[in-house]
Symmetry: C2
Subunit: 433 residues, 2 copies
């Protein structure tokens, strides 16, 4: 009897982060960081874990979207799934009826990402490797075979991708050793949430520099005068050598973004993140042209590889912010890393949230070892909360992520946390409601 | 006591269209045309009806998305909702937690559209007018106040929109009379589903011409040789004067689209619809440049006004295919009509499905009377099925939609149909399952 997938379970896990205004920004005044948490189980008793990140209400819908995919997965032979993860990914994103709810976007696409990532977790555990190393040790041809090029060929052909990966083979071992010895640069968003007082902002900014971070990020976009005050205070607190990124979380129209950014330019912001609608490729290009040398960054709401392709084709971004759970999982993120490498744009992943640091670090480290071959201008976001709920929490030391060694993709939570924060019936919510 | 909204109910209604291969195309081999059917009720005993169209599996998820919005709606004073439908629309699309599942795309955005449209239905019934007339009789200033310009101003300012609507005021009454007397041009997709035999295609194409249609549409994109044969047969059947549009339903990459279209060019296709990913603005622009004079059309999967803005800014389309239920309802569709008018691109709505003809005809007729002021190069899609389930079905005669006179937006179904086709427990499915 061959081993098959016997179940796809999804749980609504929510953390009451809104009580402390952690995570507050111009569009998210009071998020409750949440995970639609997926476990796939096999007849051999193995498990793979994935999740989709949301910010509270709607996490039940995200769970329902994952459950809608379960009939496409339960009963499949594990060898078929792990032997062709691209076909598995296309099975989930290409279902001829479910794709109408996207296609390739929104809750149904994030659901596919969570399930695809759970399959990758199963695969990496079986191989006894952390995801970054599993990927970094694949051959260029294997990596290319994981990508769906249907809508990418006008920007990147399989042949170009293969060539790019083959060129990156030189120095792989050296970079892997370097990564294991020194880790990967991080930046921190901990000081900059919009709900914090000026005093808390200044204190946390100074602490971040003392902890070794060379880049901090502040939320902006709700109140222009307050932004000028806060960015000035942060600049004064950290000095001229530390980079300050700012993040508007989609608050502005195109022209409004340009005006607002000019008012902050004297404080030398390093990048502006999500200045406008995440769908507005041409808008980002117009903003970038107007605000150089401030870099333009986006990605956490960029819903698929076709959108990233266009952001790169239109020269709309200086920084590509990969997200572990917005797109359809590891396969689509490999495509995005290849596109970024082709266009020479550094990838600085979006993290924070629930488990995003734990998951996305693998993709950035794989990129360094086997794709772009560089950490130049590259940093992974770090937010210092909720890590205690994860079985393999990230380790950030002296402003750098240490390379994870545990097998898997990093999404697995402690069972006690899943039970305690299950919404709405877990004890952490029961007392609240 | 002021009247309030007391409930938002959503029902999963599915029609087993896959049994006959009606609706089959390159990406949708066997759709079951479905509606997530919404009724809002007021303490005064009034009702408004809206729906989101899907193609089968996932309709339960669409229903769940609508239910997730209900807490934002129940208890609101009806006068507040109908007095500021833009604020109501932004309340549903801008919820700081739910918007993470989009933003402004996918199931949660279509859910907002269904609820916003239900509120418009309530409003139009109260005013005793069909939606097209309700809108066409509003002042330019009222219409502009319905639109969210946050992300549009770089392409269309409120002042430009006002100016455009004011210029269209001349001749409104004349066009309204003309519409009531002669209706609005239609085209038919009935002959061209991919699952039909050649004989059925030829017979239905001839019938369509005999019924007065000047444009028919064929599905293509699954098999190049079969497409050449089918388009040639259709051209032979209808002669040189009838337009043949073709629809690839996203089957191709950019370069593949160009090659495939060159093989069909000898049969003079009028437009190519959805040649590639609906998200690929730059891809559509590249295809358009290569295949002129074949026109490029898209829209049924274009998820919001920001995407339509870019399709227009990039000169990527010749034909804008408005959809009644993909975006966030009447308000967002007014924005899209204004954008199209600004850029001089004709709107040829997507219809068929469940109730899409009934709903979208109102928007095209409003466009003719009060926005673009023209039917030149404009046609509304017509598919001849499922109309019998609607309380106010469309009337198409001699290839033209007659202007609907009944109050409302056209979404209301017969209660017997809702009960009979409710999934999975309605009698039409009970026998099947």
């Amino acid at each position: 009897m061959s081993e098959v997938i016997t179940s796809v379970d999804a749980v609504d896990v929510r953390f009451p982060t809104s009580r402390e205004l952690d995570g507050s920004d111009a569009m998210n005044p009071e998020p409750d960081y949440s995970a639609a948490y997926v476990t796939i189980r096999t007849s051999g008793g193995e498990e793979g874990t994935g999740l989709a990140f949301t910010v509270g209400r709607g996490n039940d819908l995200q769970v329902a979207a994952i459950r809608a995919l379960a009939p496409l997965v339960v009963g499949l032979p594990v060898a078929d799934v792990l032997g062709d993860l691209r076909a598995f990914s296309e099975r989930l994103t290409g279902d001829s009826q479910l794709r109408w709810l996207g296609p390739h976007k929104g809750a149904i696409h994030m659901a596919a990402g969570a399930v695809v990532n759970a399959a990758w977790d199963l695969y990496a555990r079986r191989e006894g490797k952390p995801l970054w190393r599993l990927l970094a040790e694949m051959s260029p041809a294997q990596l290319v075979s994981l990508v769906d090029f249907r809508y990418l060929r006008d920007a990147l052909t399989p042949e170009e991708a293969l060539d790019l990966l083959q060129r990156a083979q030189a120095g792989r071992e050296q970079r892997q050793r370097d990564l294991l010895a020194h880790g990967y640069p991080a930046y921190t968003t901990t000081p900059g949430w919009l709900g914090y007082t000026d005093e808390k902002l200044v204190r946390l900014a100074r602490e971040a520099v003392a902890e070794g971070f060379g880049l901090i990020k502040l939320k902006v976009g709700a109140d222009n005068k307050a932004d000028i005050r806060r960015v000035a205070l942060a600049r004064e607190a950290v000095g001229g050598d530390v980079r300050i990124a700012i993040d508007a979380n989609q608050a502005w129209g195109v022209e409004q973004a340009i005006t607002w950014l000019r008012s902050l330019a004297p404080y030398d912001p390093y990048w502006i993140e999500e200045p406008t609608s995440p769908d507005d490729v041409l808008g980002h290009a117009a903003i970038r042209e107007a605000v150089t040398p401030i870099k333009v960054a986006t990605g956490e709401h960029c819903h698929n590889q076709v959108m990233f392709k266009q952001l790169l084709q239109a020269r709309a971004i200086d920084v590509l912010q990969l997200d572990a759970t917005r797109v359809a999982g590891v396969n689509e993120n490999i495509a995005i890393l290849l596109l970024a490498a082709k266009f020479g744009v550094p990838v600085c992943p979006h993290a924070g949230g629930v488990g995003l640091c734990e998951m996305v670090q693998h993709l950035a480290m794989f990129d360094y070892v086997a794709v772009s071959g560089s950490t130049e201008g590259r940093v992974i976001e770090y937010v210092d909360h909720l890590h205690q709920h994860f079985v393999d929490p990230v380790t950030v030391r002296d402003g750098r992520y240490l390379a994870p060694q545990a097998p898997g993709i990093g999404a697995r939570m402690h069972q006690e946390s899943v039970v305690a924060y299950r919404f709405p019936d877990g004890p952490q919510w029961n007392n609240e409601i």
